[in-house]
């Protein structure tokens, strides 16, 4: 009997891309600019992620932090040193080869935000995935109404994207608020957890759509603060983190109840988050 072939895709083979630039953002975070082979573009939506691999060090999901609107031949990742793969990434010089699969996940749906007041709430490294959406919004500024960015980190040393943050602070068409949990000597801004920034905001309940990304424990409290502002559940979006091995809905690690984060997420509407008992 003759063997049969199938036309299914080989899901687990990465493209070998090139790191074209590495920028140190904080002690533990670096930004990588990555170019795919043959000038291919990634073709991602804001909020999507890729599976990054270094052979011998494994593979991990990393959000794309650059916006597809910037017509660059490369895309950007912001990576925190957290383990096998990411520690090694931090040692890479530019010019290194790196494996990329993706983009994966649903990403933010721009229509949901169009014509609305967009409220971004970013905690810690959560700013990285949100940045792709923030940049997208700012690049097509007239498609959106107000743009409000609320950003909190543990301490001033952990502030990401200082250049961008400065420009957001300066832009008149962006309302930017920031806080740190613990100040240092030079810090002059707000001190306190991120939820303290929400009550003073003047929000138009009818028009505000929020996008929230941060560490797991942050979601519950931000959601409570937004509820207090009477923002309807369906106007809140969250990007959730889970363990992932395949990124294509097979390995099972990212499952929250009956939802695969790598397929149905990582961006979820809060209505859905509430249905998923294990989500936050």
């Amino acid at each position: 009997m003759e063997p049969n072939e199938t036309k299914a895709k080989d899901l687990y083979y990465p493209l070998i891309a090139t790191v074209v630039n590495v920028e140190s953002l904080t002690e533990t975070e670096k930004r990588f600019s990555i170019q795919l082979p043959n000038d291919k573009t990634l073709g991602h939506k804001p909020g999507q992620f890729v599976e990054v691999s270094l052979f011998g060090f494994g593979e991990a999901p990393i959000s794309v932090c650059s916006s597809p609107t910037r017509d660059n031949p490369y895309f950007e990742l912001t990576v925190r040193k957290a383990g096998r793969l990411t520690d090694k990434m931090h040692l890479l010089p530019s010019g290194s080869k790196i494996g990329i699969r993706g983009p994966f996940g649903n990403g933010f749906n721009v229509q949901d935000f169009e014509g609305k007041d967009v409220l971004f709430v970013a905690g810690g490294i959560g700013l990285a995935p949100l940045k792709s959406m923030i940049d997208f919004t700012l690049d097509q500024r007239d498609r959106f109404n107000r743009v409000i960015i609320v950003y909190g980190t543990k301490n001033p040393a952990e502030i990401l994207f200082k250049r961008e943050v400065e420009s957001w602070q300066q832009r008149r068409d962006v309302e930017f608020y920031m806080t740190v949990d613990r100040a240092d000597k030079n810090w002059k801004g707000n001190v306190g957890v991120i939820t303290t920034l929400i009550p003073p905001l003047e929000l138009d309940v009818e028009r505000t759509v929020a996008a929230v990304v941060g560490p797991p424990i942050m979601y519950k409290f931000v959601a409570m603060a937004l509820k207090a502002k009477r923002i309807p559940d369906q106007n809140i979006y969250m990007s959730l983190e889970r363990r992932m091995k395949c990124g294509v809905g097979k390995c099972g690690h990212c499952q929250i109840n009956n939802s695969y984060v790598c397929q149905d997420g990582p961006v979820y509407n809060y209505v859905r988050v509430k249905e998923l008992e294990e989500a936050i």
Partner: protein, 252 residues
């Protein structure tokens, strides 16, 4: 890149782990190409001042041991506890369960005060341990994995699930199905389920999984006809320290 300096030290143990390290006859020479062995008392005369990786075998069970291990910790960048004696006190810790006066009396009689001895402690009770290679004896594949990972500069991936997982991956006949008892369901994997693979029950020599359901384990053993006391005794053979958190260690 200069070769990392590796050293091996032994404390109270059977030295089976040391021997196991020499039992990679086929790989030993390859290994020597990648590392510089600078201290290994059982095999060589040299002593060195500093190490990149120190492997520690054996448990800490005398005041001199405590001094030595502090000294090693000061000199080494990475410290790896090798084998169950070093990781948890292992079988040596069985004596911790009994009043030490009684133990020494039974063994040395009137001469008991000649030889000071402490409860058998894991290395981590005295100094910071970076990685642990479990098992009595340590499992060679896991040791190789750790060594290779450290040479690459990455964290090893150590398992924290039951021996049953590896046993099932190998499709062994479950020894429970042969009417024996087994500690595999609550013992940490990493040994490739070697005992059940040879028809023997798992003795629990790699310590309990970190989310141990102790009562569940006792119930399982009871279902195999053990009394509660006997069940706990069986579980304690290599794990007295893990199961008896009441024993107090020296300061961390």
């Amino acid at each position: 890149m200069s070769k990392p300096k590796v050293a091996f030290f032994d404390f109270t143990s059977c030295e089976g782990c040391q021997l196991n390290k020499l039992n990679f006859e086929n790989d030993l020479l390859d290994m020597l190409k990648l590392v510089d062995i600078v201290e290994f008392r059982e095999a060589m005369d040299n002593r060195a001042d500093e190490y990149d990786i120190a492997f520690i075998e054996g448990s800490i069970s005398s005041p001199t041991c405590v001094e030595r291990i502090h000294d090693i910790r000061r000199r080494t960048k990475i410290l790896v506890a090798l084998g169950q004696c070093a990781v948890s006190g292992g079988i040596n810790a069985m004596k911790n369960d009994q009043p030490s006066e009684w133990v020494r009396e039974t063994v040395y009689g009137e001469d008991k005060y000649l030889f000071p001895s402490l409860p058998a402690m894991p290395v981590s009770a005295v100094v910071k341990v970076d990685y642990e290679i479990r098992g009595c004896p340590m499992s060679p594949p896991e040791y190789l994995h750790v060594l290779k990972s450290l040479l690459l500069g990455r964290k090893p991936e150590l398992k924290d699930y039951a021996v049953c997982v590896e046993c099932k991956l190998k499709e062994n006949e479950c020894v429970l199905d042969k009417g024996m008892f087994c500690l595999g369901p609550v013992t940490r994997a990493g040994c490739e389920a070697i005992c059940p693979s040879f028809g023997q029950y798992c003795t629990g020599c790699r310590g309990p999984v970190s989310d141990l359901n102790k009562d569940g384990a006792v119930n399982m053993l009871k279902a195999h006809g053990f009394s509660e006391a006997e069940a706990i005794k069986r579980m304690k053979m290599f794990n007295t320290n893990d199961l008896e958190k009441t024993i107090s260690w020296g300061a961390k």
